[in-house]
């Protein structure tokens, strides 16, 4: 029976609870998964992709397009939206009908699985990778009456790279066939991927229709959140602006922006439970969320370390200063450690214990260590800047 199993997650006995108040409503709207009907701030890109695919479908020809941009700039969401609109247009007979299929390089175990998944989504048949490749080859190169156009979305294109690049070659070669009627949209992160990893005959088939998604500016991020919230009044204006400015300065990743807003809502919810506040997410909540998600924890880790661990870090810095290098062996650092113990009036520790201290700092990556088999000869490097360590040790 497993051959014909229908995959599913068991359903729950009680349906999930509906949101009870404004903040919970806001949380659901702010979740990354609740993609809005129309994406704000991506109208131009939407229009470009739409006209490209529409013209190909109407002409009955094929083509390729390469879309790039850093993560979280709305590439996949925009393409999906284009497809939804085109599907709608096809339903009302404005354009000829077409099929849309989608594969993702990260969601398969091996580049050659692309053939299997395309075939399965086109026809519903299962086949091995080689067999699927030959079936697809036949399908796209032979003329057939009443053939529909096919739009293929390939997400995470860089994962389809193989040494001979035959998967990429085929994907870009099929659209050039006369009878294929295939439109391939490819998405990846880097702008220069075709020049960097593809051999010439693959890159030339990909063509020059390219588009890059710029990271969101702070105004755009603000607009995105506003449109998500859609009249649910949960945020103060200034708080929103702070989040979008911070994220835009760092990466322009919309996912990050939404996650921070969601966390801020959570913080607000908990603090509201204690004292009945205004119920709006304010500046302080957003600041707390930002601190939580952006701040590095190295300094706190150093502050919370035990006495000997802190002393060891100081010994490492002292030894670096003495050597003028950024690397020292454990033995050298240990001599400094013993000296520091004496200065601090602590009982000096043995070599075994010193090694244990060193290993503990290495395990949480405050230090970078060589394999511990080298014992006292292992080399020690700092994974944090010296200033950070000194700051953390001085503060108390």
């Amino acid at each position: 029976t497993p051959r014909h199993a229908t995959p599913s997650i068991p359903s729950r006995s009680l349906p999930a609870r509906q949101p009870g108040n404004v903040l919970e409503e806001a949380r659901i709207r702010l979740h990354v998964s609740s993609v809005p009907e129309s994406l704000p701030c991506r109208e131009q890109e939407f229009q470009d992709i739409y006209s490209f695919v529409e013209s190909k479908i109407i002409d009955g020809t094929g083509g390729c397009m390469y879309i790039s941009g850093v993560p979280g700039t709305g590439k996949t969401a925009t393409v999906h939206e284009v497809m939804r609109c085109l599907q709608h247009a096809a339903d009302v007979d404005e354009i000829p009908p077409f099929t849309f299929i989608e594969i993702n390089g990260m969601k398969m175990t091996d580049p050659h699985q692309a053939y299997v998944q395309i075939l399965q989504k086109l026809t519903g048949h299962k086949a091995t990778a080689d067999h699927a490749a030959s079936l697809l080859e036949k399908r796209f190169s032979n003329p057939a009456p009443r053939k529909e156009s096919t739009v293929l979305l390939v997400d995470e294109l860089d994962l389809l790279w193989t040494r001979k690049q035959n998967v990429m070659y085929n994907l870009f070669d099929w659209p050039t066939r006369r009878h294929a009627r295939l439109v391939v949209l490819t998405i990846a992160n880097t702008m220069d991927l075709p020049e960097r990893i593809m051999i010439n005959r693959v890159a030339s088939r990909l063509g020059l229709t390219r588009m890059s998604f710029q990271p969101y500016s702070f105004k755009q991020l603000q607009q995105i959140i506003m449109s998500r919230l859609n009249k649910v009044k949960a945020f103060e204006e200034d708080a929103l602006q702070l989040v979008s400015r911070k994220v835009a300065a760092l990466s322009g990743d919309a996912r990050r922006c939404l996650d921070i807003c969601r966390r801020a809502t959570e913080i607000c919810e908990h603090s509201a439970a204690e004292r009945s506040a205004t119920g709006l997410v304010g500046m302080s909540h957003v600041m707390e969320a930002l601190n939580e998600m952006f701040s590095s924890s190295y300094i706190t880790a150093v502050k919370c370390a035990s006495v000997h661990e802190q002393l060891f870090l100081r010994a490492v810095i002292a030894e670096f200063r003495r050597l003028g290098l950024e690397e020292a062996t454990f033995q050298q650092v240990f001599v400094q450690h013993q000296a520091l113990c004496r200065v601090e009036g602590l009982q000096p520790i043995g070599v075994s214990e010193g090694l244990a201290v060193c290993q503990r700092l290495g395990a949480c990556r405050l230090l970078l260590l060589e394999p511990s088999r080298l014992g006292v000869l292992q080399r020690v490097r700092l994974n944090v800047s010296q200033d950070d360590v000194l700051y953390a040790l001085k503060a108390d």
């Binding site: 599913s8 997650i9 999930a16 996650d259 880790a301 013993q338």
Partner: protein, 434 residues
């Protein structure tokens, strides 16, 4: 009932000690969950709320629990789960998948394990059918079909999270985080790791999909709190059957923790690490000295246990060496002193040793070259010395360059305690140059 109570009151002391041993051993060795967590209330609340959101409202989430080893990450998670499952609504709905980076060493195994624990339809009995690719497609399809309000939420716990980041392409992490960020079956991904730089291990598209919630478990325990926790660990609770014995025991622990030398020992351990696992080791070896004849922990026990814990392993190894091996070690120490840590070979060590012998009239230690060689090899096997480069085949054994893996303080300490060490050897070790 009353009769039994009477019997209980007169439980023989042997039985009491056995009871005590079982209770405390469970606490110290089996990582028994404490009644309530101390010092991490905020983290506990954060995690509980987050998992509740997933279990009750069907919101997908991801979170990382980060803290040094022995800081109570798993304990926190288990406590939160215990609280969470107390609610009927959660208990009926929540599916759990536990993965460990040390067991699921690649995505293929991890995927099989997920399919098995979720009991999806391609599982028959205990076996998972289909290839790796099919399994992945099947799981993703199953998760995709679900939706926020109707399918059961799944909790993924990834222990040793940093090891999952070393899998090929980070496929599993990408897919889990992607599901948690799209409108599919609600899942919560909880990663547990001790590395502070774990986010730098993630690929940028995986990192973008992670929600960047981190729960840090860094203990800022003061010594007074530390002492209090040690006391709590050793004390018996009220539910101990024999009240008299429990009272005596607790009073004993009370005086033990007041004792000055005990405090000193604990302070020393506290200075070296705040991790509670090492204290458990210490307390365990104290506890194993408790018997019917001596039903209490004395300060002496703690001192002795601490001495065992802090003993230097290498110095202990030196005690077991023969005189010749010890002489070779001393010769190496001198070479290290003269040539400032440059590597040496057997010939150099033997020469150094011969220089010492020449100055002596009685040639008690005049060994042949093969014997010295044997001793040298023995030292190498104990890893007290190690070759500079790994390629041992190329050079002859006498000329292979070696380094000493001991600190000078260790050698001197071992010499002090070496049973019946010849005086001339000791003097030779003390003298500045060979």
């Amino acid at each position: 009932m009353s009769k039994r109570k009477v019997q209980n009151d007169h439980m023989p002391s042997g039985e009491c000690v056995t009871q005590l041993q079982t209770i405390l051993r469970k606490r110290l060795c089996h990582q028994q969950l404490p009644e309530k967590l101390e010092g991490v209330e905020a983290q506990h609340k954060h995690l509980l709320e987050l998992l509740k959101q997933t279990a009750i409202h069907g919101e997908s989430n991801s979170v990382l629990i980060i803290g040094p080893r022995g800081a109570g990450k798993t304990t926190l998670l288990k406590c939160v789960l215990r609280h969470l499952l107390e609610e009927k609504e959660v208990q009926k709905n929540l599916l759990q998948v536990h993965l460990n980076g040390l067991l699921q060493t690649d995505d293929r195994i991890a995927l099989k394990e997920i399919t098995r624990q979720l009991n999806l339809e391609n599982v028959v009995g205990d076996k998972v059918f289909g290839s790796f690719a099919e399994n992945l497609a099947f799981l993703l399809e199953a998760l995709k079909k679900g939706d926020r309000s109707s399918s059961r939420p799944v909790l993924f716990v990834l222990d040793e999270f940093d090891l999952f980041a070393h899998h090929k392409n980070q496929t599993l992490l990408y897919n889990l985080f992607d599901v948690s960020q799209s409108a599919q079956a609600p899942i919560a991904v909880v990663g547990v790791t001790c590395r502070l730089d774990v986010l730098e291990l993630l690929e940028k598209r995986v990192k973008s999909r992670f929600s960047h919630r981190q729960i840090h478990l860094l203990s800022s325990l003061t010594f007074a709190q530390y002492l209090e926790r040690v006391r709590a660990q050793l004390s018996l609770l009220d539910d101990f059957p024999e009240t008299k014995f429990a009272q005596n025991w607790n009073a004993g622990i009370e005086t033990l923790c007041e004792d000055k030398s005990v405090k000193e020992v604990l302070q020393r351990h506290y200075n070296s690490s705040k991790d509670f696992r090492s204290v458990h080791m210490l307390l365990m070896s104290c506890l194993s000295r408790v018997s019917v004849a001596k039903p209490a922990i004395k300060p002496v026990d703690l001192l002795e246990a601490s001495r065992l814990c802090l003993a230097d392993a290498k110095a202990n190894m030196l005690h077991g060496l023969s005189i010749l091996e010890l002489c070779l070690i001393i010769a190496m120490k001198h070479l290290n002193d003269i040539y400032e840590g440059e590597p040496f070979n057997l010939q150099m060590v033997h020469n150094e040793f011969k220089k010492f012998l020449q100055r002596k009239s009685n040639s008690m230690y005049n060994f042949d070259q093969p014997v010295v060689m044997k001793a040298f090899e023995h030292l190498q096997q104990l890893e007290l010395i190690r070759p500079v480069d790994g390629s041992s085949a190329k050079t002859q054994r006498e000329y292979q360059l070696m380094r000493l893996m001991l600190d000078h303080s260790q050698i001197m300490e071992a010499l002090q305690k070496y049973p019946q060490c010849p005086t001339d050897v000791q003097q030779w070790a003390m003298s500045a140059f060979g």
